[in-house]
Symmetry: C2
Subunit: 258 residues, 2 copies
Amino acid sequence: MVHRLTLTALPGIPLVEPGDDLASLALRALAQAEVRLEEGDALVFAQKIVSKSEGRLVDLATVSPSARAEEVGRQAEKDPRVIELILGESAQVVRVRPGVVIVEHRLGFVCANAGVDHSNVRGPSGQTGEWVLLLPRDPDASAAELRDRLVRAAGVTSLAVVINDSHGRAWRNGTVGVALGVAGLPALLDLRGRPDLFDRMLQVTQVGLADEIAAAASALMGQADEGRPVIHVRGIPYPLREGTAAELIREKSLDLFR
Amino acid sequence: MVHRLTLTALPGIPLVEPGDDLASLALRALAQAEVRLEEGDALVFAQKIVSKSEGRLVDLATVSPSARAEEVGRQAEKDPRVIELILGESAQVVRVRPGVVIVEHRLGFVCANAGVDHSNVRGPSGQTGEWVLLLPRDPDASAAELRDRLVRAAGVTSLAVVINDSHGRAWRNGTVGVALGVAGLPALLDLRGRPDLFDRMLQVTQVGLADEIAAAASALMGQADEGRPVIHVRGIPYPLREGTAAELIREKSLDLFR
């Protein structure tokens, strides 16, 4: 048997507006691509369209920066109104340098700018102004809701949904896709205690499967437009189970690099 | 047009021994999978089989640990002979904790244990003893050699080769595939200065494309055996060019997390 992992960018997803129904958009696009959901399939949604559908847009004209935001804004050489939003989304500021604010997001992961995004963002239809986009309030819950809708519509029992975003890394250039929200997939694959080929215990023991799927989808999504924000994935070579993006977050006490 | 990224695990790759010809093994496996290489395709090779084919196996009985290796071994609670090999492969030790040695590898990237691997490793055919496996001496050169061989055999002009490995991350649980060696692929995709959909300049500007491809392949390779160590990739939605894994290494002066 030949193992194959196939990622298909669903065609015809329009620019998403607050209130849009992503499950319906995905189902229509699946039909257009002539892909029928099967047991074990996954869909990866770009964070950006999930956030937009959930109305996570903020008009910068409505933001009054605090004294702290003004101060961090000076260090980071960034708009203090954007900093105010970043601080509001963060549990802790990890590093500030010109152009960079690294934080622990309130959801637990470490990332740049708390995921507050300025590019490819415009306000709700017909509204002018300078808008930014925050991450979904609860990406795991967003993923679970999408999964439940898709499972019901497709008449399958086992389906995964991942919400992905592009994150920088501590020591490597370039962003890679990571999983912000997960439903129906082992985010972390625990191989601890499994013997290796030669009966020694495996050294590499936990695999960030949802991050690898998120990265694969990200390679196909592209970055400069929103043309391919939903990716269908077939052939994940592991059984699905319930899962959460929280599995991927290193406990602070075990983190050597804060 | 529907964009599709298809990863195929090449079947029938045997356990690799020092001196084995990976290009020939891959070509035979491609024929067996009835995949004909096309312009723009990529092959991803697991580091482990590249290292083995290059004879990067070391018998621990032949290693005499230095005083420094004994000391680090005590801190890390690891075999000082393994530490000796790790230090020999490293430019700098970044962190030591029980069970963990994080180093800057002599190739420039930061990783655990300098990639010195103890699991799924046995000695050359017929030899007993306790063996470990080092990373290829020059993974970019290994990738380029494989690419050149495959390009000639397949009669195409544009083909990518990636050598991948599983790395831990600073703040996230689980390993993900990353690119150790690259030929014929933009390791880093530079989108700086490209306008976004709404004519603002893109905020996320450099994408670790080779790492995303490496992660996708890693999801299909699995971990517990060597059954799927070569992955064929079709449909990378960017033009190929020359590239090197060095593009992915953050310059030390820009690194906030050492």
